[in-house]
Amino acid sequence: MNDFILWCYKAPLLEWFRNSKYAIPVLQSFHIMGLTAVLGVVCILSIRLIGIGFLKISLGTLWRELSRWFVPALCLTISAGVMIAITDPTRYLANTPFRIKMACLATAILFHFTIFRYIVRNAPDVEVPRTTAGHAMLGCASLLIWFSVGWGGRLIAFFN
């Protein structure tokens, strides 16, 4: 691990990223574009589960259509995030909000592809929704965990 961290500070490509005026902002822009799509999917599905919107589209259709965009968007967000982090790994590894963010991210991904996916795919696929308390709680939990990742990211700079 230490060898890898040392390499991060020596590699010419990463040195270029660190010294370039616009490389980090552009990487961050791709990170934000990706998270916009990821959180957009999370918002639509959660809003639908809570029963306050997107009621005229069935849950099955929403899940199917949005999942096709969710995974590529998540890959984009994580790739850009990794690129940003490896330009200065010591800083990020020592940063408490970053560590909390990573813990929340791991939890969110696990949650989304297990419990969330299972319940959404097994929900009655009817266009007239019957929101249950369980679905509403699932939607709220999803919003909470994913936006914790987002706010964790914002607090990184705050605790520098």
Partner: protein
């Protein structure tokens, strides 16, 4: 205009926002994360118009479902954006990336207005069909390009300010 921005930046409220430990990060964090409710939801309407998502659902239904959230999300963006501008008005006004961001927002609004005027009245003609007019596809593609341009400029301006 520059003097007005300098005056705005010097007001007590603007200074307290700018120098606060909590207020500025909360407003800025809300601005970025509200992108998910505004752009994050609207992008799926644009993708529907490009026939890249929700192709089995009529455009009018997608539009109706997305509408209230688009208005709500954009309202949050405008409110938080205005507060951020207010806190650093002169610095923002003289920042090239901020100016390009505002231009892209303006072009995006014109783009949306053009759709409302030219294509929305006859939407019933193609709402349920497999074909979307080419002009509508161009508008949807431009919408996505403008929004991603806004995001890039928004992030880069923070490094120049």
């Amino acid at each position: 205009m520059l003097e007005l921005c300098q005056w705005l930046q010097n007001t007590t409220l603007a200074t307290s926002i700018r120098q606060s430990t909590l207020a500025f990060p909360i407003i800025e964090g809300s601005h970025v994360l509200a992108l998910s409710i505004s752009v994050g939801i609207v992008m799926f309407l644009d993708l529907r118009l490009l026939r890249m998502a929700f192709v089995t659902i009529p455009v009018s239904r997608v539009m109706k479902q997305v509408g209230p959230w688009m208005i709500g999300g954009m309202s949050i963006m405008m409110l938080t954006g205005f507060l951020l501008f207010f806190a650093q008005a002169k610095n923002a006004y003289t920042n090239d990336f901020f100016r390009v961001k505002m231009l892209l927002l303006f072009l995006g609004a014109i783009n949306a207005l053009y759709y409302q005027v030219k294509y929305f009245p006859r939407m019933a003609d193609w709402d349920l069909s497999d074909k979307v007019p080419t002009g509508v596809k161009v508008i949807a593609a431009l919408s996505l390009i403008f929004w991603f341009g806004v995001i890039i400029c928004g992030r880069t301006m923070a490094y120049e300010i």
